[in-house]
């Protein structure tokens, strides 16, 4: 019989069925919380597994019951699913593509601000080499996944008539997504105020609206 450990492979478990699972969930949660705290304070490289374990009040070896390597803790800390944010943007009722994308950009940027700069930095480091991950049964890189989310929002907009048929959906998705990742990197690299909400408004006005403008249907030209 497969062990509990193999069953969940270190993944987060929603519903504990036994006391043992409940305790295991708690241990895992303690480690995640401890790691989140000390990494935010000192940065990923300046925190050792031993330090995370000490903060969580568990033994160092316990870390490896739940995560297969040090880097893996980042995925557990950062649960933001940009794909889901894109779906939400897509589901907004009675609006236009400019507003949908503004909503998405705003959600994206406030999500990374929420995550915190140190976790964000390590998340980028982890994802720079395209490790393909299983997402909804498919092998795909995290980046490609986000890119596709953006494509789907734009494709849906064309179908709805919020964008004209000749809109270069793939390029727009690529460039808008790259812009968001670029702002995330700019933030990490300069620690500058580039992602606050006032800034986000400016961003949408300066970049998103002009990029979409040529492809707005004539009857919606005022929609920025």
């Amino acid at each position: 019989m497969l062990s509990y450990k193999r069953e969940n492979g270190g993944e987060e478990l929603d519903q504990p069925r036994t006391n043992r699972q409940k305790r295991a969930m708690e241990t895992r949660a303690k480690i995640v919380a401890a790691a989140k705290k000390v990494i935010a304070e000192k940065g990923f490289h300046h925190v050792s597994i031993e330090e995370i374990a000490r903060e969580a009040k568990v033994a160092t070896g316990s870390f490896y019951t739940y995560f297969k390597c040090k880097e893996d803790i980042i995925e557990a800390i950062n649960q933001t699913d940009f794909y889901r944010l894109a779906e939400l943007a897509n589901e907004l009722p009675d609006t236009d593509i400019t507003k949908r994308l503004s909503f998405y950009c705003k959600s994206f940027l406030s999500a990374i601000e929420e995550i915190g700069i140190e976790i964000c930095r390590q998340w980028i480091r982890n994802n720079l080499s395209p490790a393909e991950m299983d997402i909804r049964g498919e092998k795909i890189t995290k980046y490609a996944y986000d890119y596709r989310a953006m494509q789907e929002v734009l494709n849906a907009a064309v179908k709805r008539g919020e964008l004209t048929e000749n809109a270069p959906v793939d390029e727009l998705a690529l460039y808008i997504n790259a812009e968001l990742y670029g702002l995330m990197v700019a933030w990490c690299m300069s620690d500058a105020k580039v992602i606050g909400s006032e800034k986000t408004e400016q961003f949408c006005k300066t970049v998103i609206s002009p990029a979409l403008a040529p492809y707005l249907p004539p009857d919606r030209q005022g929609g920025a």
Copy 2:
């Protein structure tokens, strides 16, 4: 008296004055070339100092005569100065801001393609935490330095009348620079064809031109 080592602090030396300096330069060059080769093949993390030294046919300790840590080799391999590229764009005669920025974007993207994806990945990792560096006598992060280059190109354009006075220079610089960094990250994260020269043309047409359009002087509206 200061030693040679202290004089140059491991920095690259242009003109060797003695045989000893010449030999040192050669050793340094051998290490840089070896590192470039093996990192491109295997990725930064999968290459040890010992392996770089073996490839360069020197002892592991020699690495530290020229570089203060493993990460430092990346700066030596990647000598691209984006600031200089921006200056070149600024100095182009008889043209307009759209063409200047297109030139800059094209130079930027072909430069990172030249550097190679593995070096590029590690370069980003190194620069995610803003280590301030001395550039032309000033303490500044690498990212802030590139950002400023872009600002100067746009400011010069306003002075020349290639952009109207009301152009939001700081925001445009921020977003265009972020877009370039974002494409670099998109490339590293997905290994996709996002930075080839055909792509660059599309990029300028889809993003740069529309962003600048509202601020082109009336007599230059055709300049895209």
